[in-house]
Symmetry: C2
Subunit: 768 residues, 2 copies
Amino acid sequence: MAEFTAVGRPIPKLDAIDKVTGRHRYPLDVTLPGMLWGKVLRSPYPHARIRKLDVSASGSMPGVAAVLTWRDLPRKRLGFIIKDHDVLASDVVRYCGEPVAAVAAESEAAAEAACQAIEVEYEELPAVFEPEPAMAPGAPLVHEDLANYEIRAVSTAATMPFIRPQIGTNICHHFKLRHGDVAAGFRAARHVFEDEFSFQMVHHAAMEPHSSLAQVTPSGEVIVWSGVQAAHRARQWLAEYFDLPQSKVRVISLKIGGAFGGKITLSLEPIVVGLAQKAGRPVKIVMTRAETFIATGGRRPGRMTVKSGVDGDGRIVARQVKVLWNSGTVSESGPISASLAALLSPGPYRIPNVHVDSYLVYTNTIAPRAFRGLGAPQVLWGTESHMDIIAKKLGLDPLEFRLRNAFEDGDIAPWGERLHSVTLKECLQRAAAEIGWYEQKTPGAGRGLSCIWKWTVPGTLSQALVKVYEDGTVGVMTGVADFGTGSSTIMAQIVAEELSVDVENVGVVVGDTELTPYDYGSASSRSTVHGGNAVREAALSARRQILELAAAKLNVQPDQIELRKGQIWLADRPDEGLPLARFVKGYVLGLGSFQGGGLGQFDPETGATPRATHDWKWGATGAIAEVDRGTGTVRIRRLVSVNDVGFAINPLNVESQIQGAVVMGLGATFLEEVVFDGGRIVNPNFMEYMIPTATDLPDEIVPVIIESRKGDGPYGAKGIGEPPIVGVSPAVANAIDDAIGVRIRELPITPERVVRALHRIAEDEGAP
Amino acid sequence: MAEFTAVGRPIPKLDAIDKVTGRHRYPLDVTLPGMLWGKVLRSPYPHARIRKLDVSASGSMPGVAAVLTWRDLPRKRLGFIIKDHDVLASDVVRYCGEPVAAVAAESEAAAEAACQAIEVEYEELPAVFEPEPAMAPGAPLVHEDLANYEIRAVSTAATMPFIRPQIGTNICHHFKLRHGDVAAGFRAARHVFEDEFSFQMVHHAAMEPHSSLAQVTPSGEVIVWSGVQAAHRARQWLAEYFDLPQSKVRVISLKIGGAFGGKITLSLEPIVVGLAQKAGRPVKIVMTRAETFIATGGRRPGRMTVKSGVDGDGRIVARQVKVLWNSGTVSESGPISASLAALLSPGPYRIPNVHVDSYLVYTNTIAPRAFRGLGAPQVLWGTESHMDIIAKKLGLDPLEFRLRNAFEDGDIAPWGERLHSVTLKECLQRAAAEIGWYEQKTPGAGRGLSCIWKWTVPGTLSQALVKVYEDGTVGVMTGVADFGTGSSTIMAQIVAEELSVDVENVGVVVGDTELTPYDYGSASSRSTVHGGNAVREAALSARRQILELAAAKLNVQPDQIELRKGQIWLADRPDEGLPLARFVKGYVLGLGSFQGGGLGQFDPETGATPRATHDWKWGATGAIAEVDRGTGTVRIRRLVSVNDVGFAINPLNVESQIQGAVVMGLGATFLEEVVFDGGRIVNPNFMEYMIPTATDLPDEIVPVIIESRKGDGPYGAKGIGEPPIVGVSPAVANAIDDAIGVRIRELPITPERVVRALHRIAEDEGAP
């Protein structure tokens, strides 16, 4: 590592002490003088017409400053791409928990009381809760007026012709991937297999609940404190919705207490802004824990079928996938997720004939949101389970079956893109070795493998500013959010590396649209690559400027001096550092910018595109599982997550990201499920919705870092936030099958499901 | 005005509504969760040795989190230039009110109680309170160890050899201006006159008292909310004092509730930082109104003699000035003030022989601070009164006497600098005309004139950032402070002008060292010129970048398109504006920088310098006064302030600055005086220290704006914050003498002094 001084080093997160000592100030902690508290009145019905909405009684209650309904808001809808999101319902409510009105009052209790005093008369309407019935002819429509909804990414003129809601139905998006001739492929195959899998809604379970505080100045400027992952886009959305200049909207997200995708889009923000505008005072709303379940949807649930044709050599010759995604009432990031997950759904394999249909379907449930992995964990749950089913049936070694079909560098993907930096086979072999694949099997312990494959959101921008102070210390300002990922520490290390200063002397500012230049936000494992490249360019620009200033003043060539330890050093006087204050007056400011690749546009009929994403991440998961055949409980002895991160700018942080993602993946595999009774969530609390505790963890979690240096982030780095979660569920299911010979096709893998599957086998074996 | 669209227009301050409706959030209003309140224990003696300082009792009192003494702080002194300021006294206290210890507790009451419980034993020492006794041989020394004090401007390696404390005395600075041969000049003169004048300490009386809130993160980052005029220098001072990287210190001043020079240097900031470091929680201190008087000194008091030789033609041939400034215990900005005011002290006149001695003398009183005009109002009070005394004695018209001697463009000042943009005569004639100088005198109404002449602090830097958003609206970030001056509005107008957008679509951010690039701060009437030039350059840079981006995308030359109303317009399609979002992704960032002129260095023996200051401001004041001979009360009928502002970027704002400065000048002329009994202030409140109310104002205040376009700020602008205060007192005194034939030589001009002067004349006339 002599090559580097600050990157490549396992330093603790710079804010770790603040956080573990409870001194960190989260967005939730912000208060303003004269601040009011808000509460939201939510629909008790999954689908109903609002016959009456009378707020007169509540408006005159003690301590109430403002009552907000749709009449006070712009006649507009919000939306990530499809504008299908009413901030407050007007004539119709479409899910249990939909905001109908909101109150700002002197206390939360007064606001709650006033909410209860609002008179609403509903007329219940027929509702649908699952994609299949929602797609059936004659199904109740979630959005009657879908034909008139606008489709447009925020603040750009870009249209997205491949996203086409099917008017008159509940299908809001149908992504098609077509490659070769799948029917001919199946005809030519020696074996054909078909399996069905389902996946549940998983809650983000961020420790900091959603909260939002808005201040509106009399001149109309809006400041919003809110834990959003994409402060700059939140600013754009709010400016557009309220018809405000972007320069008059400031979003401050600080460092957030967990997000995982659930804080990318707006939740409370437009409501508190509306209340603050009406009340003329700042208004804050903090969701109760139940509200975080009811009012912000989790990971997108659905089901999929995978059908494969395999030839006599164990090569996959055709694969057809159909995925049905439950979109809930609004599409959120769903059209992107359903499209890019569709590309992943055949798995990372060379298959000459591929046919995928990915349907995103409106229903009357809370809309799922982006969630770590954005669709990849769901489709690879099915496909990587299916791979082991095939291997078992054909008597092939599952590793060998994968290696025989796996992508290699330079392969052409089914949508026409040439794949680069593919290190999949190396990752698979390493995962296999780490779980003793090549050794004798321990009795009772099953082993399972899966591939990790993940894209990054295409075509996004990061900018960064680096300030060098007169004392040689440095500040970096980046729109990359930090919700516990350690991105701030990564940025500090990059700056320290390029400017030859100590990491401790780098201050990092994130999460304030006034402080930081533009950034698409932290999502899709893009921060290290996009934000990191922008920060590095900014640091290099500052370095160049300083050397030029110093060279001019010292009357030497820039190559006769260097910048080190926040000082200038003459080549011929290596013992005497000259303070920057002699050369720098004020700040030296370096600006960096990085525009990610990928088009975000696809042929609507075939899914073809020359570049689907900014980059591809590769890895593999290995699991060793033991199962108690009596109780159905599964014990994971060893969980290995191998990830090609290109270059680990902070190995400690990479390991912690892998560990966190693995644990989250295990929660989704074994424990976590948002349970609906019709449109109503029945377990919106941490007593009934269980996330893993220390006792639920594997005996060992083994993060393995592969450094191919093939990423196009700084120093060859790739992102790591999401990939390790992608392969957890299928690796575990494959290990369970290896241990006890039962195949679980539904998530979560509860003890009941394991026991029931064992019983089914026993019945099958006992049958005549 | 067709030349401009946004500048040159009289728009109200953009934050006016916020402020008059009470919704503006001042630094004082900021609170943090878990915040403690602090109180300061202050010395009751003007000079004493601390024999014992025992905080053990107070530290264990209920609610007390930390008690701070000098033992907890770095072994260093602060100082604007001379490091003579103890944050907390160690062995010696040097003035009544000097901080000895500080307490942080759960409430202000608990902190105050704990302060009272601190045991201090003092041994009183002999003290001096006025410059003359302090300069006498054998006087008690305020600083015994002066020889070892460091002399250095903050964070630069610049030494200041012309500032030389006289070791073994209380003289901390003696500035000498020597030009020609003044003794020969007096010998050759037909007439010689000598007068003595005195000037009192005036309090800043900012409506927002000094307050400061510090947060220290466990990793040691320091954030300070404080209404300082120079946030970036406050950051530098604090970083240097606490040995912190500048990147880990953030100062947030927001928009301040009045400053007037009293908030340039540090007050509570190092104390709250020390307390927050020790308590491990945020700590806030708000000064009581009495503390603002006792703990922050006002305008620098002193006395001066002016001696002039005049030839037979009414030309001044020699002038000798001696000024004694009371520096209190620390020098603050005094060495700069005493030096530059020395240059002004002979008046803006061509005088071949000049000799000035300006002494800054330590005493055991609270140290005066920078105050609007920084010495100019005091020395011109004397010299411009003296001018009328001479004219009267010689039977010359005071206007004609001034015009005969006044500087013209290109004249060489006594220190060797060629003066430029001199519009003094035009201003004088205009002021004379506005008070009916050329008309018959109204019986009982006296008329008085004075010159306005003011410098701007030399060699300072401003930087600015301009952000253009995708929707064509704009943000500007500047380290210029706004404490009610309207500077934010000026910056918005400049940006609006250069980017052809509406002023309403420009957001201005000030007062946060993280948000804004470097700025020396708002002082010395420099903001419009320095900050404005930097902002303009930043806007022009952004404009250039946008036009290049659009030209490239549209495949045209940049001169075929223009940027207007936040859109791009093709020359041949003037009806169709293209949205910026088509060309701009993220922000376009423009950086601007302006380095002011002037050396800030003088020959220690002669005061010679090729450029004393960044620029010179010229103007004139005219007053019409009526005096009640019975009560001695003076009624100002008309007060005219003529100022060459170069170009009025916002004429409404210029007028309000002139009105404000005139009212402040009238307060200092008639009402305001910080009264000392020995070292103790006896009137630290607004019952006994009187500032002007509406009933004290003149019948008419007439702001006259001269636009010579000769300033080197944007569009030819000059600064206006200070000049109008400079000439108020002598114009009024001259008008009083014109009305009733008495000459007042001491400020303030109280009714008692007028009556006493009338009695003296009566006695003189009645004498044999």
